[in-house]
């Protein structure tokens, strides 16, 4: 079979062999319900608690501050709705940013329909929020600040420690969606004054459909899923034991030799960026050049549209992603690209290549070669490019 190059690690990742191996015994052998008192049940209980330790450790959290969920979206929904509903007597104001993931944005919009007020902070051309604006947005009614750790499209890393400080000084709960940051950035919830943190396994070579919410000790929020006494009465449902085991292993592995791995990925990323910039004109790097996730590359290519780039890459066996509307049949391109100030036309022509631990230098070089061909070919087909050349219009 033709070689397949996967450069969409920000969308999801392959389950690592070590992770799958760790999970396998929990399907048909150690299948006990962790709530059961017999042997088979306690085997599952022990496995779940081990995973809880593994997650807690990398965050510098306590074991009982970690609650397992079905993924990043559930964690975000739980954190935001849970805090809002629990504190509605105290205040009804939430601060977030314009470039959050939809799991945060749509949750905020939902709350707006139910009597809450939300400030959506602007970001600059690199995708960074302004700390002064954040401070200015705080009112006596502010009950929650939710700002993502790193952006999924453009990779921009926010000044989380500073945000945590501001939240703490103002006695406001601080949630961060760290779904993209986890596994790439060292996170210390204590030092950074993070009260709530969302993460998901499938972005770090773990399985899909499992994640966690870190909830600082003592912080109360409404439950999202009521029912049995699982997760210390805070998140009901028979535990996804095999998934939780996978998350634990994946997060542990992610933080082994992190610096070394990041060094390699950053080397590949920079090589990819340099080669793209050397070989193509009329392009724009989206996101910040240094405050950027190790694996994230995002460019807009003028005069052409993102989906046609993706399809062309796919024909060459390359998997990538785009902030283009056409990917999903929406009229508007990604809210993130618009928020950093891209005109619609240019935002439509964007491409995200996200690198992971399995990518190689050879792949990077191959992708650049193909990408240059594709961009040239599509531009030659584009009326916009031809207008520019001939000076028409």
């Amino acid at each position: 079979m033709r070689k397949y190059i996967y450069m969409d690690n920000a969308a999801t990742t392959k389950v690592r062999k070590e992770v799958l191996d760790e999970m396998l015994p929990y399907f048909s052998d150690n299948y006990g319900n962790p709530s059961s008192i017999y042997e088979l049940g306690s085997t599952s209980r022990v496995a779940v608690e081990k995973a809880r330790e593994q997650v807690a450790k990398v965050l510098n959290a306590e074991k009982n501050e970690i609650f397992f969920t079905a993924g990043g979206s559930e964690s975000d929904n739980w954190a935001i709705k849970g805090v809002a509903l629990r504190n509605k007597e105290k205040g009804n104001h939430i601060i977030t940013s314009k470039i959050e993931h939809h799991a945060v944005l749509h949750t905020c919009q939902y709350l707006e329909k139910h009597g809450f007020e939300v400030t959506y902070l602007d970001v600059d051309e690199y995708g960074l929020i302004d700390l002064e604006e954040l401070k200015a947005a705080i009112t006596d009614n502010t009950i929650l600040i939710t700002i993502m750790y790193a952006n999924n499209e453009i990779g921009t890393i926010q000044p989380i420690e500073e945000i945590g400080k501001i939240a703490k000084e103002n006695n406001i709960i601080f949630h961060t969606d760290a779904v993209q940051a986890i596994g790439s950035i060292k996170i210390d919830v204590k030092a950074m004054n993070i009260d709530l943190l969302s993460l998901s396994a499938h972005k770090i070579y773990g399985p899909k459909g499992v994640g966690a919410l870190y909830i600082k000790k003592g912080l109360r929020l409404d439950n999202l899923i009521e029912g049995g006494a699982q997760e210390r009465n805070r998140r009901a449902g028979t535990e996804n034991v095999q998934g939780i085991v996978g998350l634990g292993k994946a997060i542990e592995l992610a933080y082994e030799n992190l610096d070394e791995k990041n060094e390699k990925i950053i080397y590949l990323r920079d090589r990819l960026m340099n080669k793209i910039e050397e070989n193509l004109d009329y392009i724009r790097l989206n996101g910040h050049r240094t405050k950027r996730l190790p694996g994230n590359v995002n460019y807009s290519f003028e005069f052409i549209e993102g989906e046609s780039i993706l399809l062309s890459l796919d024909m060459e066996g390359i998997a990538a992603s785009s902030g283009s509307a056409c990917t999903s049949g929406s009229l508007d391109p990604s809210h993130v690209l618009l928020a950093i100030g891209l005109p619609h036309g240019i935002a439509h022509g964007s491409l995200r290549l996200s690198l992971g631990i399995y990518n190689t230098e050879e792949e990077v070089d191959y992708v650049v070669g193909k990408l240059v061909e594709i961009v040239d070919r599509l531009r030659n087909m584009s009326p916009l490019f031809n207008e520019r050349k001939t000076g028409v219009k």
Binding site: N152, E305, E307, S330
Partner: protein, 146 residues
């Protein structure tokens, strides 16, 4: 794959890409904001579409729709080109995903826009063009992000 083989084939090898220096009529529809622009160049002689070229800024189905549309009208009479519907484009492509049907509408409109231009330049009246409506469709959904 969300697209039919026919769409992919036309996306891979689009027919009649380019421009015509000596076009009898040129039409452009769509806008960059929405992510789709189609430009059609027609060379018409004795009521026959002798040659046709297109340029498209847009997604895979936009490119494929333009490509097949040019094939569908090349060598045909102006009246035949006038009667090309977006449905015919969709059918010729063995279908388009619902969210992409607007691309076929654009292709139909681009041809009509070029015929209008030809009609104006040549003074030859074409039946049915006056009441044609070049409005944008807007049956779009919500952007996925992940």
């Amino acid at each position: 794959m969300m697209y039919s083989e026919k769409v992919m084939e036309h996306f891979k090898n689009p027919r009649n890409v380019g421009e015509l220096e000596d076009a009898s009529g040129v039409g452009q529809v769509g806008n960059a904001k929405c992510g789709d622009i189609m430009k059609m160049f027609l060379k018409i002689e004795d009521g026959i579409i002798e040659d046709v070229k297109f340029q498209t800024f847009g997604c895979g189905s936009a490119i494929a729709s333009s490509s097949i549309a040019t094939e569908l009208i090349k060598g045909k009479t102006v009246d035949e080109a006038m009667s090309l519907t977006n449905r015919a484009v969709v059918e010729a492509l063995d279908g388009l995903p619902p969210v992409k049907v607007h691309c076929s509408v654009l292709a139909e409109q681009a041809i009509k826009a070029a015929l209008l231009d030809y009609s104006k330049k040549s003074g030859i009246k074409i039946e049915g063009l006056d009441d044609f409506d070049f409005e944008e469709d807007d049956h779009h959904g919500e952007l996925e992000n992940y």
